[in-house]
Amino acid sequence: MGGYGDVQMIDENGLRMDGRSPGDIREVTIETGVIPVADGSCRMTWGTNEAIVGVYGPMEAHPRKIQRQDRAVLDVAYNMAPFSTTDRIRPGFNRRSREISKVTKDALESVVLLELYPRSKIRVTIEILSAEAGTRCVGLTAASVALADAGIPMTDLVVSVASGKINDVVVCDLNKEEDNYGEADLPMGILPNSGELVFLQMDGDLSQEEFKQAWDYNMDAAQVVHGLMVEALKGGDSQ
């Protein structure tokens, strides 16, 4: 986290610079079937974030050495497009993207019924087209929608939300300025039906009480987003 300095981001009425209350999330839209050649896909906007996810498979896993006899392997890549940020991102190897790919894969493997497809591979590619704080959450949430769109059986969808702290106040779903000057960030990946977790990261500085508040905001927000996901998968796009 960037540390806050003197930037005041909560007004006298307790509202944030974009008008939200501490527990509010930004506007979310979800669309499926956006990549005609993929087996499943999802486009998700979340504030000014935009992610698209393509799912291919189950398909043959090659080379053979990556095959598992008792289950499918899940290949997950998270990437930020060069034009997704104010300063262009050079394509290529990037430790941050590798780590996010890994924790996203760990989260999705916890819900996908991989044992139904021995020796095969399912490939999930998450591309961030526009970034505005919280891209890993948008990517993971959109990936679970895209997997559902591809008809891959899962025990539950995954909803990912991050809360944080600005000006010593805990708030839900940091936007870009809040993230830049904020003091903490707590992204979680939640199974909306059980309230269990498959993804958890955090950095910054939260007291135990603040941590509890951030956790609760995430849990509540997950229910809101889950409603939109179900709607998008049912039929018409959700906005």
């Binding site: 005609p36 497009a81 087209l129």
Partner: protein, 259 residues
């Protein structure tokens, strides 16, 4: 990218269709797929476009950086064009360093735009010898159902025409529209079932032979050519394609101009 084994049955089927002057998706020999072009689709880019040709979808985004001009060209900025086909775009595209196919794709599209002179690199100078704009055009494939070349080239020129130089953010003056003086258009032809067709879809690419890419400028001037893949073609075949490209590039240029 993974090179799929070409099924002989597909090749035979495409030959039969060609013999009857037909194509696998019902189009005629020189007919393109449904085309959509949109501007300003990427909030973080200084210029952007989205092109859809049938089930092929691509994005183009323009970003700017400040560079120091090369010592031998103190009054010139630069144009860089980068094409990335990531695994999201189709099951045969794989992660990792760019394949020869991806490198060719990027370089052919780059040459068509660069060689037309549509961006006047002298106009990109800010302070001679010290600061100039580098224009970076990033092409991104969302869905590859064939002919990424034409989709990239069209999205690329559309994004450039849509771009604003972010002088204010870099504290070197006021924002202004990037001057784009020409409109180069690429048309690609693929030999399928023994004859060339325009705008091949992925099944035609899979069961076809060589490709030819032609980029023409506003006055039908040739700016870039490329023959790709294994195959032999005659002067007569090329002349027929060139004639078609002259018609088709005019139509596409009109679409861009009407936006």
């Amino acid at each position: 990218m993974t090179i799929p084994i070409v099924p002989k049955l597909l090749r035979a089927h495409l030959s039969d269709l060609a013999a009857n002057n037909a194509r696998i998706d019902g189009r005629s020999q020189w007919e393109g797929r449904n085309l959509e072009v949109e501007h300003s689709v990427l909030p973080r880019a200084e210029g952007s476009a989205r092109v859809r040709m049938g089930d092929t979808i691509v994005l183009a985004g323009v970003k700017f950086q400040i560079m120091q001009p090369y010592p031998d060209r103190p009054n010139q900025g630069g144009l860089m064009c980068s094409a990335d086909v990531r695994p999201i775009a189709g099951r045969n595209w794989e992660a990792g360093p760019p394949s020869p196919e991806a490198i060719e794709l990027g370089r052919v599209v780059d040459r068509g735009i660069r060689e037309s002179g549509c961006i006047d690199v002298d106009s990109l100078c800010i302070i001679p010898g010290e600061k100039a704009w580098q224009v970076i055009l990033d092409l991104f494939a969302v869905s590859d159902d064939g002919n990424l070349f034409d989709a990239f080239a069209l999205a690329g020129i559309a994004a450039l025409r849509n771009a604003t130089v972010p002088a204010e953010r870099f504290e070197v003056g006021e924002d202004y529209a990037l001057p784009v003086s020409k409109t180069p258009i690429m048309c690609s032809y693929h030999k399928v079932g023994g004859r060339f067709v325009y705008d091949a879809c992925s099944r035609e690419e899979l069961g076809g032979d060589e490709r030819i890419h032609i980029t023409l400028g506003d006055d039908d001037n040739v700016h870039s050519l490329q023959k790709g893949l294994k195959g032999i073609f005659s002067a007569e075949e090329f002349a027929e394609i060139m004639t078609n490209a002259q018609e088709r590039t005019k139509e596409l240029r009109k679409i861009l101009d009407s936006m």
